[in-house]
Amino acid sequence: MTPRPWLHGFLDLCLLAMLRERPDYGYGLSQRLASAGVADVPGGTLYPALLRLEEQGLATPSWAPSEAGPRRKYYAITDAGRELLDGQADDWRRFRDGVDSLLSASEVPHD
């Protein structure tokens, strides 16, 4: 699993990407993050990030009932969220390619 400090920079990006695919609620998002192998995100990290997306107009919430138990707060991505995600996806790829090239340049060939 991802070291915590890494996640901190990319959690917003991951959340926006998942919301672009489909609206979801907090617990559902944390399960998708875990099953993608990105991270086990504790509630104390996930929910502030969602609220921040909401308050900055990048995601918009709506309440929906659940089959059993309390109603859920579903988040959908906004146009502003999509725009930010596009820019950050580019940043992320540049960063990822940069780290990859440094890693592969330093690797000793095995054969």
Binding site: G9, F10, D12, L13, Y25, G26, Y27, P42, G43, G44, Y47, P48, A49, L51, R52, L53, E55, Q56, L58, G69, P70, R71, R72, K73, L84, Q88, D91
Partner: protein, 269 residues
């Protein structure tokens, strides 16, 4: 013993969150815990700590890349070759420091190396033995122990210090109360002599900022603040900076220095 949502909401209020917003955040947070069918304390930890964490998180921009440097403004403080001697004892020599609007400078160094003296020189309250000091006209100075009067209340101080800066009493008081709220402090009708050390330091900070100075000179103003407020203090410093002011902080604490623009170490000279 209060329940978790009430304790959480109370701490948000103490941190200066508007009541309606605090209520909404508390409701949201309870609901989120309910989604996972867990008690809030188990998901989020102690209520007061999560309140501080949430306030800090919400004020951060989404996916903050490392701070893009703010465009530096005009030079508001400039020291060139400044030295200070007491009789034959040299405290420091050859101090150069330039601080522009939108920048934070930290003065660090061991006890007795002259940090507070240098700050007073910046403020124009102490004459240097050598070198030149240029500063902007509007300066706010927050000393370690403020020039406050024990038998006056906070609001009376706002009036008094406001008058010295040409503010009418009503405006000085509303400004003072507003600035206090940002430090998670609600001034009560309490005399300074009955205030805790932390509250007195907050009063000093508000008085230093009351007249909207361009250059703020702060001498360890958070000593005696509690932990949560210490965080608030640095947020406040960066808010001043982002508003284009120049800030000079004398500090012992080194762990925040990666965020400041200049570090002047008086100990290593």
């Amino acid at each position: 013993m209060t329940d978790w949502p009430s304790a959480f909401e109370a701490e948000l209020l103490r941190l200066g969150v508007q009541p309606a917003r605090a209520r909404r955040l508390a409701d949201d947070t309870s609901q989120q815990a309910a989604e996972t069918a867990t008690a809030p304390g188990e998901v989020f930890g102690p209520a007061h700590l999560y309140a501080r964490h949430l306030v800090a998180e919400l004020s951060a921009p989404v996916a903050a890349s490392p701070r893009t440097k703010f465009e530096a403004g005009p030079v508001l403080l400039s020291l060139t070759g400044v030295s200070k001697r007491y009789r034959r004892q040299t405290v420091f020599t050859g101090v150069d420091l330039t601080v522009r609007g939108g920048e934070v400078a930290a003065i660090v160094g061991a006890n007795g190396c002259g940090k507070s003296t240098l700050l007073r020189i910046c403020a124009g309250l102490t004459r240097p033995s050598g070198g030149t000091v240029k500063r902007t006209r509007r300066v706010g100075f927050v000393p370690q122990d403020g020039g406050t009067a024990g038998w006056l209340t906070a609001e009376e101080h706002f009036t008094l210090f406001g008058a010295a800066a040409g503010m009418v009493p009503g405006r000085a008081q509303s400004t003072g109360v507003h600035l206090a709220t940002r430090l998670a402090w609600r001034p009560a009708a309490q005399r300074v002599q009955h205030m805790s050390g932390g509250t007195r330091q907050k009063l000093n900070l508000v008085l230093g900022e009351l007249h909207a100075p361009d250059l703020l000179l702060l001498d360890e103003p958070y000593q005696g603040f509690d932990q949560g407020t210490y965080v608030d203090f640095w947020q406040q410093v960066f808010a001043w900076r982002d508003a284009g002011r120049a800030v000079v902080v004398v500090t012992h604490l080194l762990h925040d220095l990666q965020n400041v623009d200049h570090v002047l170490d008086l100990g290593e000279r």
